[in-house]
């Protein structure tokens, strides 16, 4: 096992754990009550909610990026697998059993474009996008942790 790879995995483990911790905090603040179309439509006036939502979406997006764009290729390399385009890496993760569905992951990635409240003027779409991300949170966390647990089990960390 390459020491650099090991060191890099250990670093990403710390990053991912912090990102999960902060995402969960923001998730608790935003979804203290359901994120309805009505709440989505109020963001222009409700600065406190807009700020909480901003933190939630940034943290969600960051964890998905760290997990899919950084941890996944590194974990695959540590296993001696070939890495390639994001979709190929996700397909590989699905085959190796750490991710339920590569398609679903890409769909969530695509939904992110609809989570930016300054840009999405339809409260119906914004609310659906935010709730979709929220519904995916545990799958996202489980994917990151599955790779880390596997790396640990193989003494790669």
């Amino acid at each position: 096992m390459n020491d650099n790879l090991s060191e890099r995995l250990r670093f990403l483990k710390r990053v991912v754990e912090r990102e999960i911790h902060h995402l969960r905090y923001s998730s608790g603040s935003v979804f203290v009550s359901p994120f309805t179309e009505k709440r989505a439509a109020m963001l222009g006036e409700d600065e406190a909610l807009a700020e909480k939502l901003e933190a939630y979406t940034s943290r969600f997006c960051r964890l998905q990026d760290t997990t899919g764009d950084k941890l996944l290729p590194l974990w695959l390399r540590a296993l001696g697998e070939r890495t390639g385009a994001v979709a190929d890496n996700l397909d590989r993760a699905e085959k190796l059993g750490v991710l339920d569905s590569a398609d679903k992951w890409l769909e969530i990635r695509q939904t992110r474009n609809q989570m930016i409240h300054e840009y999405i003027e339809s409260p119906q779409i914004l609310a659906d996008a935010i709730n979709t991300a929220h519904g995916y949170e545990e799958t996202l966390v489980a994917f990151a942790l599955a790779m880390l647990t596997d790396a640990e089990r193989r003494n790669l960390l």
């Binding site: 939904t111 659906d128 996008a129």
Partner: protein
């Protein structure tokens, strides 16, 4: 329109599979410009019925079409009776060409 017949058929098949036959699908944006190169595939899909999960539906269609087109970036814009109408919808409806 810079889409091959096969690509148009692929798009139609996926949209029909998700939403049933007879749904209006238009291409708009940079792919209409025959002089340009590359670029995202922007699709405008108009529905007669309200859609319960518009963000999920748009994302699912985008990914299915993207996967079928070997990773080319696809963006789906939806119009439905329960979604607020914006300038982009009007533009896509007016400038879009049926796929």
């Amino acid at each position: 329109m810079r889409l091959t017949d096969t690509q148009r058929q692929t798009i139609q098949n996926i949209v029909t599979d998700e939403l049933g036959p007879g749904v209006s699908v238009k291409l708009f944006g940079s792919r209409l410009d025959d002089a340009a190169r590359g670029g995202d595939i922007d699709l405008f899909i108009e529905l007669d019925e309200p859609v319960k999960h518009p963000a999920q539906l748009a994302a699912r269609l985008s990914v299915r079409i993207m996967r079928a087109m070997y990773g080319r970036k696809v963006d789906v814009l939806l119009s439905a009776p329960n979604l607020s109408e914006q300038a982009i919808h009007r533009l896509a409806r007016e400038q879009g060409v049926f796929v």
